[in-house]
Symmetry: C2
Subunit: 335 residues, 2 copies
């Protein structure tokens, strides 16, 4: 049996209440008894049972990260884990634990309600991939402390945070113009790919500001994989006015793009500059190493952690915001 507060009290010839008080710092205890108790704690190598403490205090000091973790997700979506790492860090600083829970969209509603009432956690940070109108309704109705990471794409009452991809697009365009690249092209994902579309809208707003006109085929959309990106690049190169720089909506597209340029002996960054997004493993490994607009998703997680703790403290707080700290990481694909 582990040593408990009782043992300490006995050893220090005092009561458990007093021990509890010195443990929690507050209240007025004479220096003498405090010392005696500290000594006993030392001698017995006593550590308070946190579960018991939390139980007594009617709190769990844990939050759960609710998301969908199918096989290979770590490879497909490393960003999600980066967010999680940031979350863990922020929570740990406040002595909260992070439980991770994989669940499907369908089961999320039931799980969260269940977990909340079973007092598994004080709050929930939910990845946008598992939200639904039903979840929104349930959470609203039950008043469950939560925070969604990722902007919901339907009308909702959620508290959420997300990256401002539009802003990231602006950053990419501004940077290229500053570097002297005058005509820009954009290779995006499909038109359903919201991240890509937001990035594009940021790019376009900057070009508009500078009164730069974009030839029609300088903006392409399609699947984010090698062959298609290769093809999109060819399309762009066929235009009368060749672009001086290409913005690729993600690293997969960038790979096909640089490959197409390489095969045509077009020099990067001398003839054409390339900017992509994200510190994806790709970006730093591709030849040439890509200049990217990096979005600090770890920090997004940290912010999410701070927010959920606020929500737990003040449940009626409402947050809907973008969090951005995008920055350009200049590598080899731009001047």
């Amino acid at each position: 049996m582990a040593v408990t507060i009782k043992d300490v009290a006995k050893q220090a010839h005092t009561s458990i209440a007093t021990v509890s008080k010195v443990l929690n710092g507050s209240y007025s205890i004479s220096q003498e008894t405090a010392d005696r108790i500290q000594k006993a704690i030392q001698e017995l190598d006593y550590r308070p049972n946190l579960r018991a403490r939390n139980f007594s205090k009617q709190m769990t000091k844990t939050v759960v990260w609710v998301t969908s973790l199918e096989k290979n997700i770590s490879f497909l979506n490393p960003h999600m884990f980066e967010i999680m790492c940031g979350l863990e860090k922020a929570l740990f600083l406040k002595d909260y634990s992070l439980i991770i829970k994989s669940i499907s969209v369908q089961d999320a509603v039931g799980y969260i309600k269940e977990a909340y009432y079973a007092k598994i956690a004080d709050g929930f940070v939910i990845h946008a991939s598992v939200i639904s109108p039903e979840l929104d309704e349930m959470i609203e109705k039950e008043g469950i402390p939560h925070l969604v990471v990722g902007m919901p794409d339907f009308l909702n009452h959620f508290c959420w945070v997300d990256v401002d991809n539009r802003f990231a697009g602006e950053l990419a365009a501004k940077f290229l113009l500053e570097q002297g690249y005058q005509t820009l092209a954009f290779l995006g994902g499909t038109q359903e790919d919201k991240i890509s579309m937001h990035r594009l809208s940021g790019v376009m707003s900057v070009l508009k500001e500078h009164d730069l006109i974009v030839p029609k085929n300088h903006v392409q959309h399609g699947e984010s994989e090698y062959e298609n990106a290769y093809r999109m690049t060819e399309q762009v190169l066929e235009s009368d006015e060749k672009p001086q720089a290409i913005i690729c909506a993600n690293n997969y597209i960038a790979y096909g793009c640089i490959s197409a340029l390489h095969d045509r002996n077009i020099e990067v960054p001398e003839t054409i500059g390339i900017v992509a997004f994200d510190q994806h493993p790709f970006s730093g490994i591709l030849k040439p190493k890509l200049t990217v607009v990096n979005i600090d998703v770890f920090d997004l997680g940290v912010q999410a952690g701070k927010y959920i703790l606020q929500k737990i403290r003040k449940p009626n707080l409402h947050i809907q915001s973008y969090i951005t700290c995008p920055e350009i990481i200049v590598r080899e694909s731009t001047k």
Copy 2:
């Protein structure tokens, strides 16, 4: 205030003990009262407080995944998260929660001891990146239920599981020979890279079995990045007897390798076949898509989960084993 077992008892005109009994299925309860209690549970929408239950039962029903999660780790080591996902899955099946905890090697000893005595968890799954002889000693002394994922590289008492990289190497070599590739080359990481060295030893053992002699410069070692891999490939191609297939110790090396072959117009897989390891995001995206020996790290996590639960049940169980389910994923880089 949430509804508790007391409320249910009152509503059903019975005692909390009886309610507890129907909740836990056991004991003999008359159908009649059982029904009455179930009805009350329904009406009140009662859910047992799991924290209270676990506290009462003197167990936590949670295990913690102890590892080091610095920024960008998700990009640098997605495998770790894949293991974690498998772990979560296995634990969830047995109604255990998974807490994740990021810690440095130095702090791991203190943290785990602390967390164990603070009853934060029943057991610990520890990533090999945070183990140390000190941790080994502490865990051995305190008898803490644990499982290390990754083979320790020092003498130890840990229970651990790992992937059998040697076996994976054998698989790669066997596969290539079967496909008719006769002479093989191996591009490895540095000689300190144990994973690479284990894979190499597997390859060599198969070649030996087949009485195949390997020219000296058909085995290369170096940093796992583009330029070096490109150079290593050149080295191999300079040999008198050009290899018919190249085994790359990882995907980064494979990238430099295929690039060097591409630049020399050497056709893959016709002239030279390539096999790499891991379902890394790279492997399926590179052109050509790589044939790889895949190691199911998700499953490694699942196994780890099963083991730690066993350890929690029977603490004196000792496990030191390889777990392997490597398989060839044939894509475009081999015949």
